[in-house]
């Protein structure tokens, strides 16, 4: 039981994620989380103005159900299946984050410096989350997928476009962490 309550090692988690992809394909669907953003836009009525959102969103109800389950799963895992939420980060990572103004790195899932209500009430804090989200939404639709659709499903099915997309994910991530973080948080 303790091994369930402790953080799960990568060699358990990775194969489980692949199994989730496989089960969805067995159900005649596919593993892609960012599509739900398009579906939600469509439900909100975006299809009346923009053709891209003019589709029968009801065909995507299964994927929204996966999202609902994921929220429940997050709740269960965090409140009932975890004894600690401390993350065993590399001490060097903790040190660098401290120089950028992030204290208590790894003591929670998300940094209070970005996700606390205090942070949200500052213009900079609010802008970071909105811009971060905007880039995720715009980029995933432009690239036609995110970590689940490209990195997991696309690479598992040996598709070249997905490899290009994943290279892009890393170009963007490395630019943000190594070049932009010191400017934003320095």
């Amino acid at each position: 039981m303790q091994s369930i309550l402790d953080p799960w090692p990568w060699y358990i988690s990775g194969p489980l994620i692949a199994t989730i992809m496989f089960v969805l394909i067995y159900f005649g669907k596919t593993f892609g989380m960012s599509s739900n953003l398009r579906t939600l836009c469509s439900i909100a009525g975006a299809g009346k103005k923009v053709k891209f959102f003019d589709f029968d969103w009801k065909t995507q109800r299964w994927n929204l159900t996966v999202v609902a389950g994921a929220i429940i799963g997050g709740f269960l895992a965090h409140f009932y299946l975890s004894t600690t939420t401390d993350i065993d980060l590399n001490p060097d990572t903790i040190k660098t984050l401290s120089t950028l103004g992030f204290e208590n790195a790894g003591k929670s899932l998300l940094p209070a410096e970005l996700y606390s209500w205090d942070a949200l009430l500052s213009v900079k804090g609010l802008a970071i989350l909105i811009i971060g989200g905007f880039l995720v939404g715009f980029g995933t639709r432009y690239a036609g997928g995110c970590t689940s659709g490209h990195a997991i499903t696309g690479l598992s099915s040996l598709q070249l476009p997905s490899l290009i997309a994943v290279v892009g994910f890393f170009i963007g991530g490395l630019i943000m962490i190594h070049l932009l973080f010191p400017l934003i948080f320095g």
Binding site: L37, I72, L135
Partner: protein
Amino acid sequence: MIKYLKFLFVGIIFGIVLVKSEAVSWYRIYEMFKFESFHMYGIIGTAVITGIILLLISKKFKNINGGLMTVPKKEKGFTRYIVGGTIFGLGWALSGACPGPMYILIGTGAFSVVIVILGALFGTYVYGIVKDKLPH
């Protein structure tokens, strides 16, 4: 309704796995892009290796509807994947949340992530507007 139960179940497992693997943590994403831990590479690497094997085996089996087990083919192209991928990477590293974890994090009580979701919905909407003007 019953036919949706299986998707709810898959989602619950997905949420549990991503929290227990710490892949929903902003810090793990930061650490990954700093190349200071093998953890995230281990998760993605073993997921892809397992995925390749499962998909190879699956060619011999049928799906639940009696059809072929197929993965949708991505359109050929380069620009949209490298540029779109880079834009997503920028946002992923900044917010620490990709489109699965941003929902899962709500379940962990991190309600401020809703702001990220609203930003992502807006980004998706803007893409829909400018889509035809972008190189793909």
